[in-house]
């Protein structure tokens, strides 16, 4: 279980997150929704130490993450797909995926190959393009690649930052469904940040609504989905 307690993170004098607390159950999808600038990405970036929180604690399965380095957090079984189809465009598709499992090669060589085959099975299109440069992929393929890079490390907790950004609805549906299946089948814990609240809430178990860095609602996804007044006030539809 991921437990976030009284978390605040600032950029200089600007407070991006103020006193946020919630829990994300293991094996479930928790979605974090909210408008632009609500602090959703900052929250994920604080979990993997890309930003340093000014106060509060983040524990994953009982281990405190605040104060650890990004590399050691990732190595402890947490994967983070940052915003904007984060792939390395000058490397090939297969190199991009392999980067995600480099740290496992020494200890778990046989599983590294299997993990690679598993993500190819999940996204067969990447298999076809494995020798192409990642820069030549379409937006949807890049997002699949970024997710594959994360999955190949065999994470227990997956942080996904706006996978739908700039993608066609059909591809968004496909990617979200893949994540959903993965969570249900393997017990992967997912923290899904989305601006596209409807899609996110349709697959998530639990929903967190943020506005201007503060926690507004922490409820089951279905409840959040049917609360028209919250939606009108904070999501604008």
């Amino acid at each position: 279980m991921l437990i976030i307690k009284n978390l605040s993170t600032s950029y200089g004098s600007i407070k991006a997150l103020t006193d946020v607390s919630f829990k994300a159950e293991s094996g479930k999808i928790t979605t974090i929704i909210g408008a632009n600038g609500a602090g959703k990405s900052t929250l994920l970036r604080s979990i993997t130490a890309l930003e340093t929180p000014t106060q509060g604690s983040i524990t994953w399965d009982g281990t405190e993450l605040v104060g650890k380095s990004t590399e050691s957090i990732i190595r402890s079984g947490i994967a983070h797909v940052p915003e904007g189809h984060a792939v390395i465009s000058q490397l090939t598709v297969e190199e991009n995926i392999s980067v995600g499992s480099l740290f496992r090669v020494r200890k778990n060589k046989s599983d590294v190959k299997k993990a690679l085959n598993d993500v190819y099975e999940l996204f067969p299109r990447l298999m076809e393009r494995r020798t192409q440069q990642a820069g030549s992929l379409s937006g949807g393929e890049r997002q699949m690649l970024a997710i594959s890079r994360a999955l190949v490390s065999r994470p227990k907790l997956l942080l996904l930052d706006e996978p739908s950004l700039g993608l066609a609805p059909l591809i968004v549906e496909q990617i979200i469904q893949t994540i959903n299946d993965l969570c249900r089948k393997t017990g992967l814990t997912v923290l899904l940040v989305e601006q596209n609240a409807n899609t996110a809430l349709s697959v998530a178990d639990h929903g967190i609504l943020l506005a201007l860095g503060k926690l507004i609602a922490d409820r089951p996804a279905s409840e959040l989905r049917s609360d028209t007044s919250l939606r009108a006030a904070y999501l604008g539809y």
Partner: protein, 303 residues
Amino acid sequence: MDIFLAAVFTGTSKGAIYALVAIGLVLVWRGSGIVNFAQMGQAMFSTYIASTLIINGYSYWIAFVIALIIGSILGVIVDLLVMRPLSNKKGSELLDSQAMKSTIPVIASLGILGVLQSSAGMIWAAEERGFPTPVSNLGFKIGKDVAPFTAFDLFVIGIVLTVLILTTIFFTKTGMGLAMRASALNAEVAKLSGIKTGQVRTLSWAMSGCASSLAGLLVTPSANLSPNTLDLILIIGFTATVVGGLDSLPGAVIGGLLLGFIISFVNVYLSPEDVFLAIMATLLLVLIVKPQGILGKKDSRRV
């Protein structure tokens, strides 16, 4: 014809050394976004140590290996003691600006160069020394004629070729090579893949230190050793890097060889005084026509 061949051979062996200097600069640039002007100071220092060992009766090869190790260690020390603290330090808003962030380490590298040169001057009393070659430095004899290239030229070309092949294999076939490319291209994605980017970065400084001390060992036999003999080689090597593309290893080699040829042809057909003019003209031409360098990427960072 003889003169022409002589120019080609000298150009190749000199160019190979410039290529080595350029490879050292590119490694650090790609690893940490810093142009390390202290590089040939580090090389000078390790060459002095090699020369001291040889004077004290050790064999060339022992001195050679120790110089390479010391060159790598110096690279690591410069990164850990100076460059890393500088890039981690959060100062005022002015110091945190992108322009200052890329300038400060370069200025620091010039400072390190000064420190290395004056300490070498203190330790070795700034005496000029010769430096031996492991193989003959005299032209091959073909009948009565003396060929325009020497066994040492072949040795230099062979070593640089080996370095090239080894670095290519390292970057394309090994996990550490992939980690280094990933860290250089996108540090955030690399970190998020569990790569220890700090260690990878320091390794690139070690490799660069090794390559440049190798260049120092190979160039000193023809230049005599003094605390600032290698300054000129650094300038030429840096020009080669800019000509070839600051972020491209093959570019560094092409730039190095190109400058080797230009220098040796100007030397032979015009006059040695025009060499610098030719170097600067080449630099200017490349900067006007293709500012990112021959093999540099257009969207990548530039100096």
